[in-house]
Symmetry: C2
Subunit: 380 residues, 2 copies
């Protein structure tokens, strides 16, 4: 018995040693304007009152699995901020996009670079701006996903739904898979688009559906095989960049090739066709997960800083509240007085102020679109 | 007939030539924090969107009656701001209080200075921070008050109540007086304190009560006679300052005498005892009057700048509103986005932000008291 366990543990280690974390850090988090904006997107903020920015927390959550084998893909505008957050990150593991090209290019380039280094790598892709607790449950799900990926699957981590959300796509699972080290692995039947509420209720009733949080673990060769099939032009461009990546030509080839790459989402380029081919599996994630989609989420995620219904976020916030509930995010040193107002959302930044309610938090996006249309782009 | 009219007109002119306007400019307007504050009180703001500060509008409203015969009493902190607003004001007509001593000292000193210049002067006292329209109706009421004062009365201008307000004292009028040039003059029976709402309803039902807006017109000698009777110590001090006022000793005597003067309100020192002595009359003011007591008033007073229920005050305000009503006062160049919130009050200044509702506008005062108690005095 002892020998057998040791043998299993050694096999475990061998599989997990192939794991490499990829963190795509993009998006401006429009619904969190004016805190989150082009120059300071969501992942650069501490939205949970934990003392860490979301990207730092994402990195730290993956560290016990990858021991520094982490690659970050972000916009070149964020180089300095990301390096300040992740000082351990090697230069060769920071992919700076000269311009945004959607997720297939970002994640595909990471896969191509890693494949060039070692074609046996199993990569996991985890967005930089999600909030997950407890980290241990997440890490266990990723370990199962790595074991499942080693069997030749693209493995998504599906979030067990807590309510019939209409803001996420869903994953329909099929039968259980028999994978050593992954007792919860299931086959995936299909990915489905964001449903309306009635459809979402139906999904929850079946017990077969999970939220698609965009997290997946895959052997880089399998991921690239699907990318090559579905987006041959994109694949060719990414391969060209990857071949130059760990050479002095990196910058020149990136600048030459990147601007001409097609823009498409990893869902269309890889995940959905792979699911249709029976190459996708799913590990259910029963941890608590939040994509911090709006300021109402900040109220939910900061129960620690809540005083009688009012959540206050921000170093040095000077808030006086009387008969007031809701969320205050202070990015200034100004005194903020709230009097006789419920479920309010106040976001105070040096050049822009938002006042809304938790109920209307999702509408912040349309305000940003209006400001862009009216030319007030200095505050976006 | 012609001669008689001319004679009457000449008599009119002679009486009106004795008129001198006094503008006490004090108080911080705590209920309008953080716009109004110790360093920038209410009277220094344009709260009606007219393009004029309240003190400038007050001066301009009196100008057709007094032709520059205007004396302003304010705190020495406001010297520069008041001079910028009233560049016409002669130095000898600007009384700067080294420290606040309540209204009896402020108005009494104005009376004493004017009495020293010409004992026949009839002064009118009008606070610097009230909003009155139309100016012509106000001026006509003041003309009647001057004629009535010339007959030996302290004449208050009573505001015809529009609702059973509980924030003002009331004036109970008695029978009509027969005064040439003042067809609306009435005797005053008594001044009464701020009532509760039920009592106020009773007052309105009788038709005998007006709001006491603190506006009065009086011969300076009569005013000083009552002051001497009721506050002999204050009278003596003010007389000493007045004797030095138009001499090189002004500053030295002011600095020596003022700090020791007793603090009391003109209501107790003059108006109420004079009413008891039968020396007070009243001219009803049927003009529209507002003391801009809170931010809800700013919504009422700025109908011109209102767009679909939202009043925006402030040069260079950059406000984006979607399904939002209420009042926005912008004292910065920041973008302010309001989404899905009704009857909100947002006051945005460089160092302090207030978010409340019209309904709670009166509670701003308690927020200021709390901030003072907690030591946040830098923003008061």
């Amino acid at each position: 018995m002892k020998t057998q366990i040791s043998g299993q543990a050694a096999a475990d280690d061998a599989v997990l040693d192939r794991f490499y974390a990829v963190i795509p850090a993009g998006g401006t988090g429009t619904r969190l304007w004016p805190l989150s904006r082009a120059a300071a997107p969501k992942f650069l903020h501490d939205l949970t009152g934990s003392g860490s920015t979301l990207i730092r927390a994402t990195y730290a959550r993956l560290e016990p699995l990858c021991y520094g084998r982490t690659l970050v893909v972000t916009g070149k505008l964020h180089r300095q901020a990301v390096c300040a957050q992740l000082p351990e990150l090697e230069d060769a593991n920071l992919v700076l996009e000269p311009e945004p090209k959607d997720s297939a290019a970002a994640i595909g380039l990471a896969a191509a670079i890693l494949h060039r280094r070692d074609p046996r790598i199993i990569m996991g892709s985890f967005a930089a701006d999600q909030v997950i607790t407890p980290a241990e449950d997440f890490q266990q799900a990723v370990r199962e996903a790595v074991h499942t990926a080693a069997e030749g699957y693209i493995v998504t981590i599906g979030i067990t739904p807590t309510h019939p959300a209409t803001g996420f796509g869903y994953i329909r699972s099929a039968g259980a898979l028999q994978v050593p080290g992954a007792p919860n692995a299931h086959a995936v039947a299909e990915f489905v688009e964001k449903p309306d509420e009635q459809v979402a209720r139906g999904y929850l009733a079946t017990g077969e559906y999970s939220w698609n949080a965009g997290m997946f673990v895959a052997p880089v060769d399998l991921l690239l095989k699907h990318l090559e099939t579905n987006e041959p032009e994109l694949f060719a461009g990414l391969t060209e960049i990857a071949e130059a990546w760990d050479t002095p030509e990196r910058g020149a080839v990136m600048r030459r090739v990147w601007p001409g790459l097609p823009k498409t989402a990893i869902d269309y380029a890889v995940a959905e066709p792979a699911a249709a081919a029976g190459d996708v599996a799913m590990i259910p994630g029963s941890f608590s997960w939040d994509d911090v989609g709006d300021f109402a989420a900040i109220g939910r995620l900061n129960t620690a800083s809540e005083t009688s219904g009012l959540t206050v976020l921000g170093d040095g916030a000077r808030v006086f509240a009387e008969s007031a509930t809701g969320v205050v995010v202070s990015d200034t040193k100004r005194v903020i007085a709230l009097i006789g107002i419920d479920d309010v959302v106040v976001v105070d930044t040096p050049d822009a102020l938002l006042v809304t309610t938790k109920e209307h938090a999702q509408k912040v996006k349309s305000a940003v679109e209006h400001l862009r249309a009216s030319g007030d782009t200095d505050v976006l």
